[in-house]
Symmetry: C2
Subunit: 339 residues, 2 copies
């Protein structure tokens, strides 16, 4: 059951293999009639071209690698969807791999993609540093980063959520509600993103003429409910409680709410809580979370388009090397005016 090749078609059509090749790729230098005839014949015979052979010859695989650190991260799936949709519409396929944040596995994954000759790699929410990037560069593999956690040199293609803007939106909402004692619940492990969010928090406070108080910045051991609960408990031990808590992300906000409830306090009556990301969960917890919706789909889409554009040789203007996207505030029931 050997696969059909262009030779089989050529023979049946009484033409040469190269003519078949041209017909199949809409080459300009071929007669309309021959082209139509051959395309029809190929279809009829059930011919499926070999991207492997084509790739060997052309040195382009029309495959992109996508590296994430955890596949099961609910935040990532929407980004992935943005990438997949875009690539699919351009006829590209996608290798997916997870690093689990294990450096060794990171290495393996990059190597595998390199061996398979992907045309480029998109890396999402990872702790990729310049060294690894230089490695890719050295292999000649272009890359685009999404929300990377290490600060990079400015010439690396990347797309980010606008953290400062996001936090500003959240704080304007909270401040607008009348809060003055506003805490930030952070996740230092998250790297750059956390830094930026905290920075946005501090800037917004200052702009509103509210003093930033070190006691009101509490860090979680991780960015999950557990870390949120722990950091919240530290806040609850303070003499002067904050009336609002702005969290690094939704999962931490959920943990914070649990801790607040355990202290027999109520959200939002006693303390307002905000999340970040607007993951699916956010709408369904009690109370539903006020949060910031990151343009996750768009982040993925944009990254994919940036990559594709680079591959097609359209020079990316230096300004668009780094693209910063904005999402929108989602107001639900976890925030209210202080009483």
């Amino acid at each position: 059951m050997a696969r059909l090749t262009i030779y089989d078609i050529a023979e049946k059509a009484g033409v040469s293999p190269s003519t078949v090749s041209r017909a199949l790729q809409d080459h300009p230098r071929i007669g309309e009639n021959t082209k139509g005839r051959i395309q029809a014949l190929a279809k009829e015979m059930g011919y499926v071209p070999s991207a492997v052979a084509r790739g060997l010859k052309t040195k382009r695989s029309r495959v992109l690698g996508v590296i994430v650190h955890r596949i099961e991260d609910p935040y990532l799936t929407e980004v992935l969807k943005g990438i997949e949709d875009t690539l699919h519409s351009y006829g590209y396929s996608l290798f997916l791999a997870a690093t689990q944040r294990i450096p060794e596995r990171e290495q393996e994954v990059i190597r595998a993609m390199n061996e398979r000759r992907v045309d480029g790699i998109i890396i999402s929410s990872s702790h990729i540093n310049m060294k690894r990037l230089r490695q890719l560069d050295h292999y000649g593999i272009p890359s685009v980063l999404i929300n990377n956690q290490e600060t990079l040199e400015p010439d690396t293609c990347s797309v980010y959520n606008d953290e400062i803007y996001s936090m500003n939106q959240i704080l304007q909402h909270v401040i607008g509600l009348g809060h003055k004692r506003i805490a930030y619940l952070g996740s230092p492990r998250a790297g750059r993103t956390n830094k930026k969010r905290q920075q946005g928090y501090e800037e917004a406070l200052r702009e509103a003429g509210v003093e930033v108080c070190a006691d009101y910045i509490s860090n979680g051991v991780n960015a999950r409910p557990q870390g949120g609960a722990q950091a919240m408990r530290e806040l609850l031990a303070l003499e002067k409680l904050p009336t609002a808590v702005v969290c690094y992300n939704d999962m931490m906000a959920i943990g914070a709410i649990q801790a607040i409830n355990q202290a027999n306090l109520c959200v939002p009556d006693d303390v307002s809580v905000t999340g970040f990301d607007n993951i699916d969960l956010a709408a369904y917890v009690t109370p539903p979370l006020t949060t910031f919706h990151q343009p996750r789909y768009k982040l993925g889409q944009q990254a994919a388009e940036m990559m594709l554009q680079a591959l097609n040789g359209e020079p990316i203007p230096a300004q668009t090397q780094v693209s910063i996207l904005r999402g929108e505030l989602v107001i639900r029931q976890s925030t209210a005016s202080p009483n």
Copy 2:
């Protein structure tokens, strides 16, 4: 900046290309010393073999296609992780594609994977029917299905969650609590899975000597909170309310709880509710859901191993053609004894 080939290495090592090829793949017929020397040299020169060229020659790509219908489905991500981990550990890569349940896109995705000469395809939670499967078969692409929604002929490699067992576990718990008026909130759009779950529900009731009442079977327009809420409202319109509601999945259960709350009733005091799947959300809603944890990771892992085994020519015993896995009941706070 042309890539290094085995010819470059051969030249430098003063041997023939085939010797290099052998050295690099631990071929038996090669001298230990030559092998070591060449491997070292290749590494030193930074040689990265081309899986494309190898694939063209050997007709095996060591790539598997994975088709899902929605990437962003929280249920799937864990399955995907099981697949990815397994494939990675065997040195395989993975093409990911989503069909969005659009037949046209399904076709495109299969075609793309076929062109790229994947060694096999794993299809998860889809509505693939025998026709499409025969198509794959005809192309010579082996496939493994995970929780497929159409009933298939028994000789197709597949892995399923044991729905009947799962529902039995849920109902034993609910019945054990003392409930007699137990409703089922289904999702007909889900196909086979829903049928099986409903069947499990009915069997368990009968075994417990409880009559199955048609009024207590309510169908949602979809398997999301909205469908759950709508189906629950129909139940709430009954003269004799059920004291427990067993739902097709967690999302519907969440919708059902919302509807119950809106009717000024309370879960679990007035009515117990159970979910299914144990998605991340389940632990964080109010009240936390009693649900059934599907062995999602294992479903993916098993499917991947089944595929790999088939590819290595180890004949799969007819009995293991279909593998049925069991998860476990997770009791939280959405269920209690009726009052």
